[in-house]
Symmetry: C2
């Protein structure tokens, strides 16, 4: 298996200075796990985050609708003078990345290629198991991305929409999330348990990808249930962390890192209900949450 | 306790003939449980159903956004010549009904007043327990509606968003939906079980209202868990069935029933992914599903 050099970030000439903020967007809250990973790796960068929670979730919508929504988010951030764009949403990364790159004069990265690259390495001779939204899984984006790194590595996707609902409600511990995680993972490890639930039969997986930005909230539970299902030692790949890692490399090699020494700022924008967003954002961000501002997006 | 005469349907002079279809709309699939109840009571009526699934769910959005979405749905149906409008969505009924009546020259009914009227009767001396979306519960609409029927009856609301996610995934049987139902119901029957989950402490409930159109799919499970929690004999009130009942009375008393003798037709419109809608609609409709047509709504 040979891995090509990083190609997840397509970079036109930067129009703005290195001190300009990074733009990050998602359909709602989930992308804050990517912001968290970015801030850990790039603590001096200013970040503007846009959560399009008036139209959440994207994961169940058609490709045409997702592209239209993604363009309106990206244009809002572009007009605010960001130096690069991180699409912190698996669904948009799966469906709209090429279109965003074609329409914007900015470097744009998604979360799928970094996740797929790490997964291809981690799976060894095994299959890559991906948990994601229905939109991400049915797009086949992880399958295509993994195939671009290794023609011999297979991908098995499992849509796990209930984990999104559980994360948004803060129900991340206890018997219900454990049983939900187990049911979804059984597609990878115990196909006989999956019978009757419409889940696919499984090959042996070599790693499990958290292919939705909500899923890091269940990481420990997922690792526990993998062990319970006989998968001890099978690694979990977090697309958010891999994206931050590759994006850091990209900024360094292009000389695009901010030069300031003080901590970077975080600005949070949403399209609906800022107070409600503020109250649950810390669960995803892993730190205190600044005031959240509501914006109206121009239709695309 | 005295109940005022039916007032849930506000009726301007009908602009169209009695053979015109009924218009029914919801944010997605759930309203099909109301269509099912309407077709059982009014088998000769033609029905046009509009599911605004490009923008589902409404339940988590702000009142301003919900009103804007509801107006665009209502105008689409009005332009198709419906004789009356049923808002088959608790969230829209909670937030946008007055505005729809002000803007449309049509009789308009929602699902909350019929549900609240039946619940006030059913609760006797007890409290009315309502399961709904976050939007419906936080709107306080059931509390206001019950108060209009009885000043002595209290209402305890419990947001149950996971039941929506489970219904849409078809996961309506087994341990996970049972535990989720039990956790939500414990707010009504066993507040000590609800501790640590942010659920409110409870008074003794006299009935439980299915205050979301998705929840009739869990009716048997809810009835079972009410018994398990020591609530044997406590009735479950289905807002969809109550709405169909009051709407039938309204059509009869106003002479608005269709005169045809053949079975009524059903036309299904959606704003996104008609094939996907078609494949899961029968679960809610309880019968076979006609071809689903995609429409673009004009913005409001």
């Amino acid at each position: 298996m040979t891995l090509p050099p990083p190609g997840s970030v397509v970079a036109p000439v930067a129009r703005v200075g290195v001190e300009a903020p990074l733009g990050v967007f998602d359909s709602g809250l989930g992308g804050l796990t990517v912001v968290r990973a970015l801030r850990e790796r790039l603590p001096h960068e200013n970040i503007i985050y846009l959560g399009d929670n008036a139209r959440v979730p994207y994961g169940t919508r058609s490709p045409e609708t997702i592209i239209r929504y993604a363009l309106s988010c990206a244009r809002e951030l572009s007009e605010r003078g960001v130096k690069a764009l991180v699409v912190a949403c698996n669904t948009v990364s799966a469906v709209a990345l090429d279109r965003l790159r074609a329409e914007l004069d900015l470097p744009v990265t998604g979360v799928i290629v970094p996740g797929a690259r790490a997964a291809t390495r981690a799976a060894g001779e095994g299959t890559v198991g991906v948990l994601g939204t229905l939109g991400t899984i049915s797009s086949g984006a992880y399958t295509r991305a993994v195939a671009s790194f290794s023609s011999r590595t297979e991908v098995l996707g499992q849509a796990a929409p209930l984990l999104v609902a559980l994360a948004e409600e803060g129900w991340t511990e206890g018997e219900v999330p454990r049983l939900v995680v187990r049911k979804y993972l059984s597609a990878f490890f115990a196909p006989e348990e999956a019978e009757g639930f419409g889940l696919p039969r499984s090959a042996k997986v070599g790693c499990v990808v958290l292919g939705c930005t909500h899923f890091p909230l269940f990481r420990e539970l997922i690792e526990h249930e993998i062990r319970e299902l006989g998968g001890r030692g099978i690694p979990v790949v977090d697309s958010a962390q891999q994206t931050a890692l590759e994006f850091e490399e990209f900024l360094i090699t292009r000389g695009l890192c901010a030069l300031r020494t003080e901590p970077g700022t975080l600005q949070l924008l949403v399209t609906d209900k800022p107070k409600s967003f503020e109250s649950v954002a810390s669960r995803f961000l892993g730190s205190s949450v600044p005031a959240v501002e509501q914006v109206d997006l121009k239709p695309c």
